[in-house]
């Protein structure tokens, strides 16, 4: 019976996806439920979080053991930053002049919260409380770093890189996914686009995010 209780909803969700006749490119996360189990189910079917649809909810603990859920921030814009403190792209982005150096500080408000998520598997680069705590201190990160050692949340969102940015709007829908900007090398040339800043500005002014999906860049998430 336990097995049935666990898997019947999963099967129902699979059929629901099949019946939606959603074109492959628009495969969405509308069925993403409020539990890890449902997020995992979506991943197994190759469905990950899609812009304009419900963001997978989650519950994860931060470095101090405090639990955070997406649900608890409903009504706010939530910025999710996939994080690996030892990835050179993350080091560069959070370092002096980097795109993420002060972005959380300047954009956080009573209506906008930031959460970093480390989906590194145990034993892999950038994983572990000590190295994450040291990075948070070094880069003055005053927002939580959540630990997703199983990688379930990362895979439900389709997080591929560190950094990889996702923005969930106040209604719980995914409003942006992609890179923080278009400068993986850190060189901000004439064609520089601060995608994440622009997306947050659009949301803050009540607009639809104009550039809602961009290429992410960085190291692979160490699942």
């Amino acid at each position: 019976m336990t097995i049935l209780r666990v898997f019947l909803p999963v099967l129902a969700l699979s059929w629901a996806h099949a019946a939606q006749a959603t074109p492959p490119l628009l495969a969405h996360c509308g069925g993403c439920g409020p539990t890890h189990a449902k997020a995992k189910t979506n991943h197994q079917h190759g469905k990950t979080a899609s812009v304009g649809h419900a963001a997978p909810t989650f519950k994860l603990k931060d470095l101090n053991g405090k639990e955070h859920s997406l649900e608890q921030y409903k009504g706010k814009t939530v910025v999710l930053e996939w994080f690996n403190p030892e990835c050179p792209f993350v080091v560069s982005a959070h370092g002096k002049g980097g795109v993420l150096e002060n972005l959380a500080k300047t954009t956080s408000s009573k209506d906008t919260v930031w959460l970093a998520i480390n989906s590194g598997a145990k034993g892999r680069q950038g994983q572990g409380t000590k190295v994450n705590r040291a990075a948070a201190k070094k880069w003055s990160m005053d927002y939580p770093i959540l630990i997703d050692e199983s990688g379930e949340v990362g895979k439900a969102y389709g997080a591929k890189t560190t950094p990889h940015m996702f923005v969930v709007d106040a209604k719980g829908n995914l409003a942006y996914k992609g890179g923080p900007d278009n400068a993986p090398s850190g060189r901000k040339g004439k064609s520089y686009k601060p995608y994440l800043t622009d997306a947050l500005a659009d949301l803050a002014s009540g607009k639809r995010v104009r550039k809602a999906s961009t290429s992410s860049w960085g190291c692979s998430v160490k699942y």
């Binding site: 492959p24 490119l25 990950t48 680069q125 895979k155 591929k160 860049w217």
Partner: protein, 284 residues
């Protein structure tokens, strides 16, 4: 962290693609130790190679059989266990890039061979090179002049379990075009470069398909815009000689002006690489 047999498995396009001769490859080219077949992600965590991720770099002017102007060839060789990235690196990584430092500073374009495809845990798809790879540098505005001494900088991201950025400045001595002789290795590298060609993708329900010659093996490597539009779904895109892509690629708003892909088409006698724009010759 395993690559699949990719680069060694190109094929010759049959008559339709034969603007230039196919490159002969051994029928059973030995896979490199870190190679892994397309489409099957290796979940096992590989140990970090103990060696420093040095990427050997050298550059020289070379003459190519059948080509009038001398070509500037740069060979990059990552240390065993490490790889560098194609111009469209996929979900992760950083494009290998080249910059001319002297006689004046400017970006130069690199013609690159087809990459290898790597799938990591989390369905993370990357495109790159893990062996000696030759790049041919070009300046869009005017040909590079072999009569002048050049200094160029090659920059890359070398990855294994971890990634490390690297670069190297290379001095290139002037060369007299009349004194340059074609070499087998650079001729072969030149022939491995993709040629521009439009191919027809036929409608098949919610998909469009491209069919290579009978008996061939086709692989598709999406350039950056196509990779983003595919959103990492439905990889690998080809099996045997048939490639399938969602028809929505051509119709989903906003319709892109260009969607580039590189196709590798391998037969028993050799291979051809084709660079094609899906939006040309294929009505939405």
């Amino acid at each position: 962290m395993l690559w699949r047999t990719a680069l060694m498995s190109f094929a010759a396009v049959a008559a339709a693609c034969a603007e230039r001769p196919s490159v002969a490859v051994p029928p059973a080219a030995p896979a490199q130790p870190i190679a892994a077949p397309d489409g099957q992600a290796k979940r096992a965590h590989q140990p970090v190679p103990k060696k420093t991720p040095k990427v050997a770099a050298r550059a020289q002017w070379t003459s190519i059989t059948g080509v009038d102007a001398p070509q500037l060839a740069v060979e990059l060789t990552p240390a065993p266990g490490w790889h560098i990235y194609w111009h469209s690196p996929g979900d992760t990584g950083l494009a290998t890039a080249f910059e001319l430092l002297a006689p004046r500073r400017e970006q130069v374009a690199a013609r690159m061979p087809a990459p290898k495809r790597k799938v990591s845990a989390g369905d993370i798809v990357s495109y790159g090179f893990d062996g000696a790879t030759t790049f041919f540098l070009q300046r869009p505005s005017a040909p590079l002049e072999s009569s002048k001494a050049l200094t160029l900088e090659a920059s890359w991201l070398a990855c294994a379990e971890i990634c490390i950025k690297g670069s190297k400045k290379i001095a290139v001595e002037p060369a007299d075009p009349a004194a340059l002789k074609p070499k087998t290795a650079t001729d072969k590298a030149w022939q491995a470069l993709p040629v521009e060609r439009s191919v027809v993708w036929k409608r098949a329900g919610a998909e469009r398909v491209y069919q290579g010659p009978t008996g061939s093996t086709v692989k598709l490597f999406p350039h950056a815009a196509l990779h983003l539009r595919l959103d990492g779904r439905a990889t690998p895109y080809c099996r045997d000689n048939l490639c399938r892509l969602p028809a929505e690629l051509w119709t989903k708003s906003p319709t892109p002006a260009s969607l580039l892909a590189t196709l590798h088409i391998e037969t028993a006698s050799g291979y051809t690489a084709v660079e094609t724009d899906l939006m040309k010759g294929n009505t939405p």
